[in-house]
């Protein structure tokens, strides 16, 4: 029965390739489906692009980025670089980008510190602390971050006094008004450059010392108090030089002049509200990651370390944390991304991030919705990929090395 053997699937020797094999032959079927899916996808994309072009033509609009070089004509309150209303739109966008990055970086730092502390505290044997942290975490995790941002903003503007009624606190080191917070600014005079150079040299020295101490420990088994010695190497020479040069730094205290305080460092309440709300919100998520990471390490690891004679602190640093970090870091990356993307809620409190400048006023005044949103999405995509990339590098550094 030769005909029967030809029906089973598998290579058909005679007759070569037949068109029906594209559907009935499992070797080719997946290619057929993929090609069809690809064509459909391309058609859909093509239709969208074509529609955009059509609609732009019907509206008489032109797709171009030339508007970026026209004067922006609006002012921005918080500018990290030189900017005035005659600067071009691209510069306004850069001001916004820097403001976004500022809030993202400071937010990630604060959220990490808070998150780790709270995550550990939730595992505390102290009933009160553990329960308080549970309330904190559940409270922040389960209310939308926009509401937290608005709550902080409203609290600052409603509860704090206006500049004319306020009194500087802490010997003038903090002035809290309903528009923002003022702290003294540092003014560096001659010799500050020397200090900076010495500081950098000290950092390098501390690093070299760390390597030397590790090598020595591996050779002799002796353990040095590395942290304290490093601290001394970094700060003592700088402090000595600081006084040797006769304190080349003065403080500029804010003073009430006219409507507002002038001088000093001005931290706007919009920034504070956004920063605190984003940090506290994200910290609640990070705390859960930290708790999960620590709880995932089996108790046997601790017991094994103790039985080898390692003290509790070294057990934590050398046995538990390195393993817990492997579990904590990947979800931590997404929390950093979330914080960065959530910072686009800034306009709710009038913080001029890139969504407020490029995606807000520039978009509105020039009417270039498509261009602005494409640039904006490109920016957030780039930033998110960069954060992921950097954090993945770190993750690879701490992840399990299998040989």
């Amino acid at each position: 029965m030769t005909t029967a053997t030809q029906i089973v699937d598998g290579p058909v020797d005679s007759g070569g390739f037949r068109l029906s094999q594209l559907i009935y032959d499992s070797r080719y079927r997946s290619y057929t489906i993929q090609v069809i899916a690809m064509v459909l996808f391309m058609v859909a994309v093509g239709w969208l692009v074509d529609n955009v072009i059509d609609n732009f033509r019907d509206l008489g609009k032109e797709f171009s980025f030339g508007f970026l070089f026209q004067p922006a004509s609006y002012d921005i309150n918080q500018t990290l670089i030189d900017y005035n209303s005659q600067s071009p739109h691209w510069r306004a966008a850069v001001v916004g980008i820097l403001n976004t990055l500022l809030i993202a970086v400071l937010g990630c730092i604060l959220a990490t510190f808070l998150g780790v502390a709270i995550g550990v505290a939730r595992l505390s044997k102290n009933w009160l602390i553990a329960k308080l942290m549970t309330i904190y975490i559940e409270g922040f995790r389960n209310v939308p971050v926009l509401l937290w941002i608005l709550l902080f903003s409203t609290a600052f503007s409603a509860l704090l006094p206006s500049p004319r009624q306020t009194e500087p606190m802490l010997a003038g080191f903090l002035t809290a008004t309903n528009r923002g917070f003022y702290v003294p600014a540092t003014i560096w005079s001659e010799g500050a450059g020397l200090l900076a150079i010495l500081f950098l040299v000290s950092l390098v020295a501390a690093w070299i010392f760390g390597r030397w101490a590790t090598a020595r420990q591996e050779a002799t088994g002796e353990i040095l108090p590395i942290f304290r010695i490093r601290l001394a190497i970094i700060f003592l020479p700088v402090l000595a030089l600081f006084f040797l040069l006769g304190s080349p730094m003065t403080l500029d205290f804010p003073e009430l002049k006219g409507f507002n305080y002038q001088g000093g460092l001005y931290i706007r309440s919009s920034f504070m509200a956004l920063w605190l709300a984003l940090s506290l919100y994200t910290a609640a998520f990070i705390a859960e990651n930290v708790r999960a990471g620590i709880q995932a390490i089996s108790k046997g690891q601790t017991e094994a370390a103790y039985s080898l004679g390692l003290p509790p602190k070294r057990t934590m640093n050398l046995v538990i944390l390195p393993q817990a970090l492997r579990i904590i870091i990947p979800p931590l990356i997404s929390q950093y991304l979330n914080l960065t993307k959530n910072s686009s809620l800034a306009i709710a409190v009038g913080y001029m991030d890139v969504t407020g400048t490029l995606g807000g006023i520039t978009l509105n005044q020039t009417g270039k919705e498509m261009e602005c949103l494409i640039l904006l999405m490109g920016f957030y995509l780039t930033i998110s990929l960069l954060i992921s990339g950097v954090m993945n590098l770190y993750n690879n550094a701490v992840s399990l090395k299998e040989r």
């Binding site: 509206l59 309150n77 209303s85 528009r179 507002n260 807000g360 005044q365």
Partner: protein, 340 residues
């Protein structure tokens, strides 16, 4: 804020997804049997919701007049609240048929953003409001002040220009809506609030103690406000334009909501006869409507003067004088081209 970004994103997406928005807005409006009109999110006098949740105010009144002219029923309007930021996207993407939201006519909005402005229905200018106890009596005394400003408006640009021209510094506090600005201003988080002078009066009228605040005498810009439509549909632009002119004309010749029907029957004045469609000129048919279009528009909410008096005039909490918005015969700027 998320929702506003969403509106922006949706509007932009609409550019990509919508089948080409075609020129004939009139046919679209007739087919769906209602007018989609963009108004502000809430501004005493100009656009607000009443106890029943219906939109009232100066701007909605013009939407209703257009709906009455086109569809024969002033209630066939659906209102879309828009912010300073979302309004143009909403109009350009076809989400709304006309925008009546104290919008200033400017060169770039007309030419670059591709809109067509109907005649100005309110001549305004930008001013400042401050607390009386600040002791400021001129805008020139506002150097280094913190100023609340609605973002995405021409006032933002005027403010930058004014302070730059006078070599003064200031701290802008951008807010999204009039309500937010009011909250910040009352909490003393800003020294001054700047927007169109009519808006300042409107906002102040809603304060607990309006007398503790003053509007500074300087008017730093020209703000001709009026409805607008997408460019490229001349028929629709003409309908909106002539509806407004008909309301102004009606005030000129003394036609009101109350006497319009009677005037149509009795009047022997050719001007009134042409306006109310008592003659066989068939002006309405020239832009796709019937002969009674203006009659219905006037009966919807009264003539220009009646609308002004009802929502903004001296009898209202806003207490705005007609001023430059009076008829040209009374020394104002309201001057309607003749219907003939």
């Amino acid at each position: 804020m998320k929702t506003k970004l969403l509106t922006l994103a949706l509007g932009t997406a609409a550019l990509a997804f919508s089948a080409t928005a075609n020129a004939a807005t009139l046919d679209d409006v007739k087919a769906k049997d209602f007018l989609q009109c963009g108004v502000s999110t809430g501004f005493p006098g100009f656009a607000f919701t009443d106890d029943n949740g219906d939109w009232q105010g100066f701007d909605p009144a013009f939407c209703r007049a257009v709906a009455a002219a086109v569809l024969g029923d002033a209630s066939k309007v659906k209102f879309t609240p828009t912010t300073g930021k979302t309004r143009f996207t909403a109009l350009a993407s076809g989400e709304i048929d006309m925008l009546a939201r104290n919008t200033t006519e400017t060169f770039s909005r007309d030419v670059d953003l591709k809109f067509t402005f109907a005649p100005v229905n309110y001549y305004d200018g930008q001013g400042f409001m401050v607390r009386k106890d600040l002791g400021v009596d001129s805008a020139l005394g506002l150097s280094s002040a913190t100023i609340c400003i609605q973002t995405g408006t021409t006032t933002e640009l005027n403010l930058a220009d004014y302070f730059r021209a006078n070599n003064m510094s200031y701290e802008p506090v951008p807010v999204e809506t009039n309500a937010e600005a009011q909250e910040k201003y009352l909490a003393n988080a800003c020294d001054a609030y700047t927007t169109d002078a009519s808006g300042l009066s409107a906002t102040r009228s809603a304060f607990e103690n309006p007398d503790d605040h003053i509007v500074l005498p300087e008017i730093i810009s020209k703000e001709p406000l009026g409805p607008l439509v997408r460019q490229g549909d001349d028929q629709w632009a003409d309908i909106v334009k002539w509806t407004i002119l008909a309301l102004i004309t009606a005030e000129e010749v003394g036609v009101t909501a109350g006497n319009a029907d009677q005037m149509k029957a009795d009047s022997t004045d050719p001007n009134i006869q042409r306006l109310l469609g008592a003659t066989e000129d068939n002006y309405g048919a020239m832009f796709g409507l019937d002969n009674d279009w203006a009659l219905r528009a006037i009966k919807a909410g009264g003539n220009y003067g009646e609308i002004f008096a009802r929502y903004l005039g001296t009898e209202t909490p806003l207490g705005i004088e007609r001023g430059v918005n009076a008829l040209w015969t009374d020394g104002g700027l309201m001057y309607a081209a003749p219907i003939r």
